[in-house]
């Protein structure tokens, strides 16, 4: 039984300029101990879907319009009260965020913040909490942890702050860790270390990890399964092998083409023409076909495209968009 089973999640934002359908019918599941990657560009809904699970969407203007998110076969996260959610956040489901520079409270010592994460959910003494926090810091690779735990966040570097975040989120041995773009704000050299660390901590705690990113390179080494999102819907879902070796949806294909490779020096970079759609307007059919510069067969222009099963593990949303060929020089805009 999956640790998390999300069915038909819809999250809309009711703004003065219209209702933005940020997440429009998303279903996925996560098994115990597995790593699920959610890939997509800005505005695809990847972060909003996970924030909805945690109840971190600002309720006006956002609202969860429908769906279920069953945790561990018992509890529907989407129908929990705030009090119930507080017990789950940081304990059963933890989250780390994109920018470690701003995600820690600059006015409090690191020790205070990690101890709080622990004592919020477990009845432990201050002393024991401090010991465990120091141990948690050591587990994420921070040396001289017993001294440095008394530092303030700004005394750590970016990569180390992210390690602190990881320690803080894993100290309660959560069942799921949601990592929202954990490496985007970090140096490339540090990125790999942090991903390694996440994988290491995941194994130690047997947690599931949901890794949200726009970077295909990040998911390549890390994820067991990958969901590709576009315009608030999942357009392709499969194992890492499925996605990388047998991409079916034109968007997934285009994403892979966009990864610059070391050999193509001097050639123009492949870019996907057009812009993502305006999510405050209802989209009758295939959202990807709406991009300027792309041609499509027209089959899914007015009907929502359906899901097609490619194999046991591999699903794709139908689309008949034709991508421009690899060799053509593409203009921006």
């Amino acid at each position: 039984m999956p640790i998390l089973d999300v069915k038909d999640l819809k999250t809309y934002f009711h703004t003065r300029n219209g209702t933005v359908r940020a997440v429009d019918g998303v279903s996925f599941s996560v098994e115990r101990g597995e790593t699920l990657g959610i890939v997509g560009e800005s505005g695809s809904g990847k972060s909003v879907s996970c924030y909805s699970l945690m109840g971190l969407i600002p309720q006006p203007p956002g609202r969860i319009e429908g769906g279920q998110a069953i945790l561990n076969g018992e509890l529907d996260l989407l129908s929990c009260s705030e009090k119930e959610l507080q017990k789950i956040r940081g304990k059963k489901v933890s989250m780390i965020f994109q920018d470690p520079m701003t995600s820690l409270n600059p006015y409090l010592r690191v020790s205070t913040q990690i101890i709080e994460a622990l004592r919020m959910h477990e009845a432990v003494s201050r002393k024991e909490a401090l010991d465990r926090s120091i141990q948690a810091l050591e587990e994420v690779g921070i040396t001289e942890a017993s001294e440095r735990i008394q530092f303030y966040p700004h005394e750590f570097s970016g990569g180390m702050r992210q390690r602190v975040m990881i320690a803080m989120s894993m100290i309660t041995h959560p069942e799921i860790l949601i990592a929202d773009e954990p490496t985007t704000a970090l140096d490339v050299t540090v990125q790999a270390q942090i991903l390694e660390l996440i994988r290491d901590r995941q194994k130690a705690n047997n947690s599931a990890v949901i890794l949200i990113t726009h970077d295909l390179g990040v998911v390549a080494g890390m994820c067991d399964r990958i969901n590709v999102m576009y315009a608030g819907k999942i357009v392709e879902s499969g194992t890492a092998d499925d996605i990388f070796y047998n991409a079916q949806h034109p968007y997934t294909v285009a994403l892979q083409r966009s990864i610059p490779s070391l050999g193509s020096k001097g050639k123009p970079l492949y870019t996907i023409p057009g812009l993502p759609p305006d999510l405050s307007q209802p989209i009758p059919g295939d959202a990807f076909a709406l991009r300027q510069g792309l041609t499509s067969g027209g089959k899914w222009d007015t009907t929502p495209p359906s899901l097609k099963q490619v194999s046991d593990t591999h699903w794709v949303r139908e689309s008949d968009v034709i991508l421009p060929p690899l060799e053509e020089v593409l203009d921006v805009g």
Partner: protein, 306 residues
């Protein structure tokens, strides 16, 4: 940290010195002298008066003498009144101090809770109404609010005296006049500061850790959210002092503010200087304390981060 404090103290002394010097020369260099305001005085009497007070000596020597006396705590004689400046100020300073303290207490006790509540219940009635009233408070100068309060509560309702500083109840209207205006400003600043912090990422992290809302407000937000108010306290003190000029005039309070204004009009050099020195010391001290508190609360400042 101590280096920081020591440096600030040194700076404060320099600033004070500059203020005293500038004021001294400003007042001296003005046209006229303390004795030309009043009745027409025969020249020879004026000369001997000037000599008596040492006003016929060159300016620089007068300056030197003044500083010498100042360091010994002697602020000199008043030129218009018969008592020495020290005596005059010893009587009036406590009055103004009390007035200012009450005003500050009122401002904080009303402003802080209102601002915090407005931020917590953003965009609701608990936000709009107090903020609108606060705006009113900012746009109503003390010299409008004072007479109105005096009229309503003093004359029409008869609850308070409209002048004097005799019974404890006399403190109420003047302190309210200044206090309410600054309560309004503090409420707005507090709201702004709290909202600024609440919109930060680390509040989201706290929420994601399962921290309940009251703790988020009081443990995670308050420290940072109050920083703007704390740094405002320096200018607030300066404002309360200038408010006292007006309020002491309106309510006939025998305080330093009223004296400062009249001594400036009368060109009573030493009294002017004396009051300026006390004000400047107060403000500099307040700024120093405020800076230290800021450094204590905000650890990023301790390492002279820019």
């Amino acid at each position: 940290m101590f280096k920081f404090i020591a440096r600030r103290i040194a700076q404060s002394i320099v600033v004070l010195f500059v203020i005293v010097t500038v004021t001294f020369f400003m007042v001296r260099l003005a046209p006229g002298d303390p004795f030309s305001q009043e009745r027409k005085m025969p020249e020879h009497i004026k000369q001997s008066l000037m000599a008596h007070y040492g006003l016929d000596k060159p300016v620089m020597i007068q300056y030197g003498n003044y500083l010498k006396n100042l360091v010994q705590g002697d602020l000199g004689p008043s030129y218009v009144e018969t008592r020495s400046v020290n005596k005059i100020l010893t009587a009036s300073f406590p009055v103004s101090l009390e007035l200012g303290s009450w005003a500050l207490v009122i401002a904080l006790c009303i402003g802080l809770p209102v601002g915090i509540t407005a931020a917590v219940f953003k965009n609701s009635m608990a936000d709009y109404i107090p903020m609108a009233v606060a705006m009113l408070g900012i746009c109503l100068p003390t010299f409008v609010l004072g007479p109105i309060l005096a009229l309503v509560f003093g004359v029409w309702l008869g609850w308070f005296n409209v002048s004097g500083w005799f019974i404890p109840a006399d403190r109420v209207l003047p302190a309210l006049t200044i206090g309410l205006v600054y309560a309004a400003v503090i409420a707005r600043i507090t709201r702004g500061g709290m909202l600024e912090i609440l919109s930060q990422d680390f509040i989201r992290t706290a929420k994601a850790k399962g921290v309940p809302f009251p703790r988020i407000i009081f443990f995670h937000t308050l420290k940072g959210g109050l920083l703007p108010v704390i740094s405002f306290l320096g200018p607030a003190l300066a404002g309360i002092i200038s408010g006292s000029f007006v309020v002491e005039t309106i309510f006939q309070i025998p305080g330093m503010g009223r004296q400062f204004v009249s001594s400036a009009f009368n060109r009573d050099y030493t009294l002017v200087l004396g009051t300026v020195i006390i004000y400047a010391t107060l403000i500099t001290l307040a700024n120093l304390i405020v800076d230290v508190i800021q450094v204590v609360i905000n650890p990023r400042l301790r390492f002279e981060d820019s």
